[in-house]
Amino acid sequence: MATEAVVERRSAGHRLAGFFHGRRRLQISGLLAGPLGWLVVGYLGSLAVLLIAAFWTVDPLSGEVIRGLSFENFETLFNEPVYREIVWRTVRIAALVTVTDAILAFPIAFYMAKVASRRGKAILIVAVLLPLWSSYLVKVYAWRTMLSAGGVINWALAPFGLEGPGFGGTAVWLVMSYLWLPYMILPIYAGLERIPNSLISASEDLGASPFTTFRRVILPLSFPAVVAGSIFTFALTLGDYITPRLVSNDQFIGNVIFNNISNNLPLASALALVPIVVMIAYLMVARKLGAFEHI
């Protein structure tokens, strides 16, 4: 009988749920406490503590940080041309890698989403995801051996009288494009999947050639997903220091930060502000373009 159910003792969980019921503010606070605590206090707080050192200086011998307000580091970064070159080099390669990966990823993602059979799709998904599980370091070292003077690339090109790019900026571009490709394929694939086939059929029914359909229907609809993928390729290239070290002599922003961490943390922090500002700007633009729905 219904009245018996009401008389029953309610479990602790039930009572707790009742406590939250109707109290919207409590619900929101309960949900947000953990994530906000972790991300704002924990993560942003740590960042702030690190970055404030950008306004300090350092004792040259002991590496001890002198906590007095100073803009010395920013002056160094502006006045010494090498830092500007390094920042420009890093940003340039990040952009190149992003464009390269977008071009490489799109056909694969498109095939997976719209053309492949069920089984083909399954195989391709596994095939694309699998490299994510092989170690980043092993992949970079493999590329290093491939690019070396006696490596695969030179060995394969020798019969044609050609030579591989060897180590250097080209190598960094190649390797980074290679490493981050799956991060570009996945969001584009998901984005293309979301385009209803009915839209494509409608476009064809209206007489558009496949190319026109692609250009005027598929591309605009999938653009936010491409931007989403670009966040990863750009960010991961911007901050990497291991790949430039292993396949080139070029210094990237990450390398200079790394080299200065123990001797001159203030200078390292000041330099760290550059990719942070760049990425925040990038993210804001990406959000405007709708990319955040597609990550």
Partner: protein, 395 residues
């Protein structure tokens, strides 16, 4: 859904407030990296069962760590670092017990309080260390001993004997733009600011008008000359190396044919049958200008969790048989006088000039560049200047 801005806004404000408190604490607090104990151990007790070391490649190897572990029960874990900068960074984390520090790290570690003085009375084998390694400016500060010498050596000039002819006898093959251009893209240089001293050694011999005495004490003019030399060298450099294996694979793969290296890489490549050669023993392993080098010291961290094991290690590593093994494995001069009787190659100590202090006058041990020049003036470039210059050299 109605809009209720208040609870979330409060949450954000609380979070922002906590962050501000963190910033305040960070800004006003004193650096906690200094340990309170600057004292040396008085007595070596029982081993703690573990030992965490930072070392150069080839310094902590199984042939002598295994017997050490069996004897003392201290299980050894070793982190190999490629540059002194890496070693300093690692030591500053306070996670390690000891480090085999070169002269361009020791002063920094002592000044920041990352290492404790070493009570040499607790290290019996110290008594028979070569006297020209004791109480040196790189291991003894204000009369206080900060470490136990491990061994010493000079940086080597190594080349691929099939690609580089005739056999070089001078560093000009790396520094003289006309000569180095022959091997453009095949030259291997050390990736660390301290390499500026190598350019200074070269200039000391070839541009004596600059008046360079100590390659680590450079005034503005001398420093600029060295930096410019390195900027010119960059065009010919194939790779800057900081880890030994990277250089080994570069030489083995044919990416590099010529460069500055350590004995560790040289013997590894020779052992694999690669056609490498280096300045021979008859020349004291040195090109005509001399070379930079190192005299390494085992230091104990001020935050060492296993000090007893560390002292046992320091005594072990300079015990006669072990120091002989260590020196022969790497290819450097031992620190222990009695080691010379235990080397497999009976002529080892002679070849490596272990007992010849005069030889080492042509080897400029790594030192920390300071503003104080030896001659009373203090306008020399300090380590910060070297680091920044190195960034602009590499470009």
């Amino acid at each position: 859904m109605k809009k209720h801005p208040n609870p979330a806004r409060t949450a954000w404000l609380i979070a922002a407030g906590l962050v501000s408190i963190m910033l305040l604490l960070a800004g006003c607090g004193s650096s906690s990296s200094n340990s309170t104990s600057g004292e040396e151990l008085q007595k070596v007790g029982k081993g703690e069962g573990a030992l965490s070391l930072i070392s150069w490649a080839g310094y902590v190897e199984e042939p002598w760590t295994k017997p050490f572990e069996e004897k003392t029960g201290c299980k050894v874990s070793d982190k190999v670092a490629g540059t002194s900068d890496e070693m300093v960074t690692l030591m500053r984390s306070g996670q390690y017990d000891g480090v085999s520090a070169s002269g361009n790290a020791t002063a920094r570690l002592v000044d920041a309080g990352n290492v404790d003085p070493v009570n040499v009375n607790l290290v019996p084998n110290y008594k028979t260390i070569f006297s020209d390694l004791k109480s040196q400016p790189y291991n003894t500060f204000d009369g206080v001993h900060y470490g136990i010498p491990h061994g010493r050596g000079a940086n080597l000039l190594m080349w691929n004997s099939e690609d580089v002819k005739p056999a070089p006898t001078s560093w000009n093959v790396m520094f003289d733009p006309k000569v180095a251009a022959k091997y453009k893209g095949k030259i291997s240089a050390y990736d660390d600011p301290i390499y500026i001293a190598d350019a200074a050694v070269y200039l000391k011999a070839h541009q004596p008008e600059l008046g360079i005495e100590n390659p680590y004490e450079l005034n503005e003019e001398q420093f600029e000359a060295a930096v410019n030399l390195l900027k010119e060298q960059r065009a010919n450099v194939g790779e800057y190396w900081s880890d030994a294996a990277k250089q080994i694979s570069a030489f083995a793969g044919g990416d590099d044919a010529l460069g500055t290296t350590w004995q560790y890489q040289y013997f590894a490549l020779k052992g694999e049958g690669h056609p490498v050669a280096a300045s021979p023993a008859s020349q004291g392993f040195l090109p005509s200008e001399g070379a930079t080098g190192w005299s390494d010291t085992w230091m104990i961290s001020s935050e060492a969790k296993h000090p007893n094991c560390m002292y046992m290690w320091m005594n072990w590593i300079v015990s006669p048989k072990v120091n002989a093994e260590v020196a022969e494995f790497f290819g450097e001069a031992p620190a222990q006088t009695l080691a010379c009787e235990h080397t497999e190659n009976k002529n080892f100590c002679n070849e490596y000039h272990a007992e010849n202090p005069g030889f080492w006058k042509r080897v400029y041990y790594w030192e920390t560049p300071l503003s104080e020049c030896g001659n009373g003036s203090s306008d020399c470039k300090n380590y910060n200047d070297w680091v920044q210059a190195w960034t602009s050299i590499k470009g």
